[in-house]
């Protein structure tokens, strides 16, 4: 069964007139799929390639270069990027990341069992004046502390103590 919906295909085709080549629509297409599915499964790569008149390997080659698109399974409902670069590290960003992962019961790069939250490290988020900071979905969380990070985890996960273990959907 096709992975790309009519809506996704239409959104991808909307990008065609912007570029002189179809291949240039690769990143926009990956974003469109990723926004809706929270990952880009291999089947989607094949279908994107058909739309863009490319070999699936060309799309896969591009996708695999960017760590941004997941392929094995969707990331959590909220994807949180905690900055570990220098300005944040100088203000204890790495400890906050560790504390947050501990509160959620996962390692960086993993998703809580209830699929609510994925925590990842990020390189400089371009918000160094608010160090340490985190981008969760579209929201920038500024001047994080262990407490505010933990509160975020609790709020994002199902509200059962914030270990992310409750309410598993799988």
């Amino acid at each position: 069964m096709a992975v790309l919906t009519e809506d996704m295909i239409a959104a991808i085709k909307d990008y065609f007139p912007r570029y002189p080549t179809r291949q240039a629509v690769t990143l926009p297409a990956l974003h469109i799929v990723n926004e809706r599915l929270r990952y880009v499964p291999l089947e989607a790569v094949v279908e994107i390639a058909q739309l863009l008149e490319l070999a699936p390997a060309q799309v896969q080659d591009t996708l695999s270069f960017y760590g941004y698109f997941k392929q094995d399974k969707p990331h959590g409902e909220t994807r949180a990027w905690v900055c570990r670069s220098i300005a944040c590290a100088l203000r204890d960003g790495e400890q906050v990341l560790e504390h947050m992962c501990h509160a959620a019961g996962i390692h960086p790069g993993e998703t809580t069992r209830d699929n609510k939250l994925t925590i990842e490290f990020a390189e400089c988020l371009g918000a160094c004046e608010y160090a340490p900071c985190m981008l969760a979905g579209d929201v920038l969380h500024k001047n994080l502390t262990n407490e505010s990070a933990e509160a975020f985890v609790k709020q994002t996960c199902s509200g059962h103590g914030g270990n992310g273990q409750a309410g598993s959907t799988h």
């Binding site: 240039a24 591009t62 270069f65 960017y66 100088l90 160094c128 004046e129």
Partner: protein, 450 residues
Amino acid sequence: MPFEPVLLANINKPESYTLRVYEAGGGYQGLRKVLKEKTPAEFIELVKSSNLRGRGGAGFPTGLKWSFLPKDHPGPVYMCINADESEPGTFNNRILMELDPHQVIEGIILSCYATKAVTAYLYIRVEYPTCYQRLQQAIDECYAAGLLGKNIAGSDFSLDIYLHRGAAAYICGEETGLIESLEGKRAWPRIKPPFPAVEGVFRKPTVVNNIETVCCVTQIAARGVEWFKSIGVPSDPNNPRDPGSYGPKLYCLSGHVNKPGCYEAPLGITCRQLIDEYGGGIWKGRKAKAAIPGGISMGLFTAAEFDTPLDFAGPGKVGCLGLGTAAVVVLDETVSMVDFLHNSCRFFAHESCGQCTPCREGTHWSLTMLERIKAGKGRLKDLDLLLEIGDTIGIIPGTTICGLSDGAAWPIKNAIRKFRPEFEEYIKRTNPTGYMVTEAVNALPVVALH
């Protein structure tokens, strides 16, 4: 005399990001005037004579870059606006796009008019969702108001601007990495020549400019060359090839200061002025130990070098790579240089695109060594090995395709050459025997140990 902000003049107004507020402050007047009164060639000459230098890191003169486009090319010419802003410590492009997107767009239209580009792609990092929304809103407003699309402001110039999102890779900020990424490929920087002006995106002549650079273009169109050249550091009269450091600059200040933030000041203020007069001094009443002068790629100032002017020539005079993005990150006296260098090496090992062996292997092995040193298994000779890597990777020694590896090398060279006693002390204290405990020894089967 405090400097009156120009690039940041709008950002504190309510709804500063709307066309209404931007135009009420005189926005798009400069563009209308240029479209009426100047030919593209005349406008290039104007920008050339302002000596505006690119704000994206390399400091290349903008007007000169534009004039490298082939004159008789059938076209199209493309404009790529670099909003990948991923250099650790840097965030001024974010502020401009989020709070004053029309200043950005006016600058893009002007730059495209000058270069006769009819399509501009604004390559924006995916970590800037608010900027993306604000820019798209602003672009939509411009189309509705006749400021984008066909016959801009009644002239015969037409232009489309498209936003193109990246996917969290630092190397997409390197101009030919950006071009490859825009084409839908992995962001592997290209071997130059050909330079983008001759063969860039979609194999057509292309200009790549930074967000802050095009905002300077907006201000030059509105206020004139004389105004621009009244700010900053004049060219060296004894060096006819020195373009000087003219104009306002957005300095990003972060790390261990009381008031981190983005501050607009004339090019050429010193690091100390930035920290004390704008940043409220070092936090917690402590002393400074060092500072990154312009994003982590540029290396390190020691505290004794804080009187260095932050202009295009300054940081190089004390052994740094350059002004870079003018993002200053301050390290107070409690920071371990081992930790600092570990953080830097980890960044570059993570971001190397892997095409060139010296960069891929050099960044990887320098991280491995720093991890070892940090874990108390370092040897004194590791410091020389690290320096050997630092001295041999990059486009300056001529071993790699792009400047990422020069950026990886500089923190290594500066940290170890400027703070060597601290590294030696750390290694001697944490690994007094001086031997390297390798993983291979740990991994020997238990029987073999008896």
